[in-house]
């Protein structure tokens, strides 16, 4: 940059759209690089050390722009000449990366691999970090808030008698007892009973350890191995923090799609969001399988027959057929039974 040079282009004065032909002269003076803007009548319009002007980074073949502290703007399409002013800047390096060439093939594969890794692992790591950062008080409040809503919207007090409740409580205590001590202490495990005719035989767990079993469930299954399997499964959801992870993950995926996709156009953005929703369902199914395995191990350790969970799905399958809703966010009964068989074969002999 030591040799003096000139570039032709246009000049704009501060805040004016008036465009006039002008020339930029660059030269060294006292060891500093200076630029001057000269009008066609040789009048000097602006002068400054290069270090004090603002240079917009090169971007494609759009005109190069240089703004003086007083607002005077010089614009030129002489890209090669202008590069002498900022050839070593960060913007120029970025511009070289963006140039069309074989290296972009590598970038393309890196993008595909990166997008896959981000979806497969990155989002999980982010969700796990967010879960770790969520204070325990907040998680407890989620349990309380959700339970209140359920009680208000669709649940009635349980109609079970104490003997029926006690039967479930004994199994519950036995299963909880084999949970590692630190897991037990980290959460507030409680078992509740509700009459919820609209959801049928069902059980669900809230993130802080509140567990709800419906009356239908207790009455439908006399076999305690089934109850143990279900409780183990729900405890798995709690211990593996599935609820919060899923909330954070879907939130993160939605924000990432919104930010990365940018101006994809209306049709394509819909497509991306639909695809994202489908992938979220498959994530939910993975969580169910993982909770199944957790529950099998736990009920097995507590001295129950892990085949109980399998019996549940066999009976559910007979009772409800292949329910489409159940299939979407959960794996099909058939697949769950198969997976349970495989997993039981791998369990250690008690």
């Amino acid at each position: 940059m030591s040799d003096p040079f000139s570039l032709t282009g246009y000049v704009y004065l501060r805040g004016s759209s008036r465009r006039t032909d002008a020339r930029l002269d660059s030269a060294q003076h006292d060891g500093l690089a200076w630029v001057r803007i000269i009008a066609t009548d040789e009048e000097e319009l602006a002068r400054s050390p290069v270090s004090e002007v603002q240079i917009d980074a090169a971007l494609g073949r759009t005109p190069r722009k240089l703004t003086f502290a007083d607002g005077t703007v010089f614009e030129t399409s002489d890209h090669a000449g202008f590069a002498q002013l900022d050839g070593n800047s960060r913007g120029a390096r970025l511009h070289r990366l963006e140039r069309f060439g074989p290296h972009l093939i590598g970038f393309t594969f890196a993008c595909l691999a990166g997008a896959y890794l981000l979806w497969r692992y990155g989002l999980d790591i982010l969700a796990a970090m967010a879960v770790a950062m969520t204070p325990a008080v907040v998680v407890e409040q989620i349990d309380r808030g959700t339970l209140q809503t359920i009680d208000y919207v669709m649940a009635e007090p349980s109609r079970l008698n104490e003997a029926e409740k006690d039967r479930a409580r004994v199994i519950y205590e036995r299963v909880i007892a084999v949970l590692p001590e630190e897991e037990r202490n980290a959460r507030d495990f409680t078992l509740l009973f509700r009459d919820m005719p609209s959801v049928g035989p069902n059980a669900f767990a809230l993130p802080s350890g509140t567990m709800v079993m419906t009356d239908d469930l207790i009455r439908s299954f006399a076999n305690e191995n089934v109850i143990a399997g279900i409780l183990g499964h729900e405890i798995g959801h709690v211990v593996e923090e599935h609820g919060l992870r899923r909330l954070y993950r879907s939130l993160g995926a939605y924000i990432l799609v919104a930010l990365l996709a940018g101006d994809t156009g209306p049709l394509m953005e819909d497509l991306l969001l639909e695809g994202n929703a489908l992938l979220a369902l498959s994530y939910g199914r993975k969580q169910e399988t993982s909770a199944d395995e957790f529950g099998l191990t736990l009920s097995h350790r507590a001295g129950y027959d892990p085949g109980g969970l399998k019996q549940l799905f066999e009976e559910l399958s007979d009772m409800m057929g292949d329910d489409i809703q159940w299939m979407s966010s959960h794996p099909s009964h058939e697949n769950r039974i198969k997976a349970i068989d495989t997993f039981i074969d791998g369990l250690p002999v008690r």
């Binding site: 465009r19 971007l59 972009l104 993008c111 990155g122 394509m268 497509l271």
Partner: protein, 354 residues
Amino acid sequence: MSLEQTSSSHQFKFTGNAKEWFGVWIVNLLLSIVTIGIYSAWAKARTKKYFYGNTHVDGRNFDYHATGGQILKGRLIVIAAVVVFQIVVALMPILGIILLIALVIFYPWLLTRAMMFNARLSSFSNVRFNFVGTYWEAFKVFFIYPILCLLTLYTTFPILDRAMKRFSIDNHRLGTAEFGMSAPIGAFYKAAGLALLWIVAVFAIAALTTGLSLTAFGEATMALENDPASAIAVIAAFYFVFFLGFIPAGVIYQALTRNAVYNGTFLQGGHRLRSNVSALQLFWIAVSNLVVVVCTLGLMLPWAQIRTARYLADHTGVELGSSLDEFIGVQQEATSALGDAYADIEGIDVGLPI
């Protein structure tokens, strides 16, 4: 057919090209993925700068001046708010409803801020745009009009749509020069009528030729378990007719209203905008873009974007009433990127009326 080029009439010119934009786009994407989305703020600034910088009128180009840092700050605040909002909804549904009402009240403010941010950081021929819409105007356009529209069973939708476009255009400035829009309401009704006619025609033809009906669709959904193959065929045919009806109708409406809006838009100084896009060509571009982009796993997206921008520029023009040298910028305060970030995340478009 392009717009004619005379001494006072100038066609917009778009000089971006797909090869060059692919390089910028893929680097944007790679850096955004590597930084788990943080770089996307800089990517947005670079994207807008590329498309604005390559759009010329009479040899002068547009420019975009927001920095990635500004955009990132706005986005971080909005993302934090979204996360807190979601947690509150999970925690205390009642408080969630109160927050939702607060957001509704806040919404017009966010939207005017987004338009202000976008306008003040955009320029043409060295003069910055500005946006001067107020909260109450926005409240009227985004709440009162839609409620009226609902109450009149959507028969006043063209009035609502024109009001929204007027709100955006009439409140934009280029320096001190004011924009104004006087497209007749008849043009909006005509566009809506033609779009509706298209939908009715497609469904009538489909019903007459194939006997496809809503009952058939309902039965097919029911029969999904027993006879999946033929049920899926019926459902697919139904969706095909649905898309053939609604998507072209949307394009017809957009193309016709775009022409009406542009041809009715003027800028102080005697300048008038012109547009002559064709619904058929826009539809062809939208559909072929989608097919090509999907078949190439998104890699041809930059090509599709350049193609759309070039078509729109080729069919947009301005009749100059005086010299483009006469615009004068005004001193304006910086605006936070909060509204802009909100619009990004919600996918709301708040672009310039160009």
